[in-house]
Homo-oligomer: 359 residues x 2
């Protein structure tokens, strides 16, 4: 049976318009388009301006393209950190950013809490940190940071750059962009697109930091250094031959999202999350892995199913509703459910019905 | 009018099977496939093993995926050069590799010849170079290196790693892999695929060099360091969420190429190149930019058209045969014609007929 819905948190279900956009792209010769052509520059412009509108990004921010969020972790450390970065670690992906900083020779520190738990709301972060790395939505565990948590660092650490990993949450969160400096996401999560493209949004403070590191003799990379990104972006171009088709498809899905309205997307996300958490709470064999209400992710919902995990997974798969495995060591005890714009209310209602009937 | 053929050297014309493979990919859920799944591992294995068979790559080489050849330039310098690299520069792309080495802080040197010309066949390269960078096919000018030129360095510089940029020539060239250590290409050229994926083929000498640099305290990057590439590739996986659809499409086109046979592809490439160079030679207003017979690229053919360039371009476009612009400052004097497996004999015969009739 062809699955009704893919709930793995990424690569995840495609947004329902994507296949049509691919057809149009082939009809219009997008995959053969030169990346130094006027046509490509128009696509670049549509994508970056559309994203700024959709996400409410104020003037003073730039939008750049990378191949993966993993690449953006590396580029962030190269371009934004001379010596010291600080990382809030509560799962596999926030830890990976910390590890990359260490691999790149930085004196990085972290506060770590057990998987599934929230950080102390008044954390102690040394004053001399150049970058504070926050993972808005930890994909491995389904823990979200509150906006209050994210926004506190601008005042407490005015000299630090605040980097927010929103890989598996955007376009849902409405960030206060005056409180953060760098945000990034991957298109195969909340934008319902094939993997192979990520988006890095940075402000002038990030640009200035990269320039300062460069003038102090730090290596900030080559083709994907922030200054070279900007030099090309000002022409609506990329430093290298990019994933042209991916950028085109992103522009089209952003148009679709704008037509639907970001408020509608956000309300639907909250509705779908609410009914799934409710169903988990009411079920005798299933519980939400994340206990603290304000830390429960709206976009990656993790169900602790213990000994029933394998049986529930098979039951849902037989109903055409493919859950995501728990992450790493949690695979045998948990299932993850992505709640992205690609997942319709009807699919979530069917998922909830099925879970309610599971015995 | 829908163009009959795209001769720009990349992104270029798609191989004729690609659109069907995309349809199949969507039908089979490839864009939603988890990159840690058995299904993805099978695709990874098919792609790398298929490439080894197609290109005649012997045991002891590994096949890794990057986002662009530009990325591979950077990764090559990071992983293979402690202090010194040497670059043969005869155009914009060979020079870019040299520039990236300098940006990454290396003491790099180059031999440079004017655009369109060949190197002295007995070049003087300092003995202590750790890497010698050769561009088999300089896409900006249509100059190819001979196999004799490439193969001489193994004997003359046994300690150097020989890196061959085959971005716009593979799968055409039959390299002697005992004489080279690192080869790379991008899929949007000779493999007729959408841009956003490149392939890096390295041997154990490259792996050993990266390990040695790492143990000596050199930074070799993080997720795309050679050791981490290999650690993942041994599981048929990639370090990051990759361009899954791109890797799948590459596996399918490689299968198509294997069915047609690499010898057939090579003979057709030579036939198409021969008739186009012949037509250029016979035409009073057009000449081959590259004069030396052995340096004339078979895969990117550059026509010097002088004052007739604009008129010839319009004439060909009106016939549905889109030429590539000359590169950079040569744009007003030259046209470039890609000769990849995606370009059929019939399309080349039509191109030649049209050029012969141009007055």
């Amino acid at each position: 049976m062809k699955p009704i819905a893919h709930f793995a948190p990424g690569p995840s279900q495609l947004y329902f318009t994507v296949e049509d956009h691919v057809r149009t792209a082939f009809r219009d010769g997008i995959p053969s388009l030169a990346h130094r052509s006027k046509e490509f520059e128009k696509i670049f412009h549509n994508t970056t301006e559309g994203l700024k509108e959709l996400l409410g990004i104020p003037p003073g921010f730039h939008v750049f393209f990378a191949a993966s969020a993993t690449e953006i972790w590396e580029r962030s450390i190269q371009n934004l950190v001379g010596q010291k970065s600080f990382h809030f670690v509560n799962g596999a992906f926030s830890n990976r950013f910390y590890e990359i900083a260490k691999q790149l020779g930085k004196h990085s520190e972290k506060i770590e809490v057990p998987f599934g738990q929230a950080f102390d709301s008044n954390p102690v972060v040394p004053a001399d940190m150049e970058l504070i790395g926050l993972t808005h939505n930890e994909t491995s565990t389904g823990v979200s940071l509150t906006m209050e948590f994210i926004n506190q660092f601008r005042n407490s650490h005015p000299n630090a750059l605040i980097s927010v990993d929103a890989v598996s949450s955007l376009p849902y969160p409405a960030f206060d962009y005056s409180k953060i400096d760098s945000v990034f996401f991957s298109v195969q999560k909340g934008f319902g697109l094939p993997a192979g493209l990520s988006v890095w949004i940075v402000n002038e403070r990030c640009m200035a930091k990269a320039e300062q590191l460069l003038s102090n003799g730090h290596g900030i990379g080559s083709y994907h250094s922030l200054p070279f990104y900007l030099q090309n972006a000002l022409k609506n171009q990329t430093p290298e031959t990019p994933n042209v088709l991916g950028i085109y498809l992103l522009s089209k899905v952003v148009e679709d999202f704008l037509r639907r309205g970001v408020q509608t997307l956000r309300k639907e996300t909250e509705y779908k999350a609410a009914i799934l958490y409710q169903a988990m709470e009411n079920h005798p064999m299933i519980s939400a892995f994340v206990k603290e209400k304000n830390s429960k992710s709206k976009t990656v919902i993790v169900a602790h199913c213990g000994e029933h995990t394998g049986r529930l997974a098979t039951y849902l798969e037989n109903a055409g509703l493919h859950p995501g495995d728990g992450y790493g060591v949690l695979k045998k005890m948990q299932l993850r459910f992505a709640n992205f714009p690609a997942h319709s209310k009807e699919q979530f209602e069917l998922l909830v019905d099925s879970i309610e009937k599971f015995k």
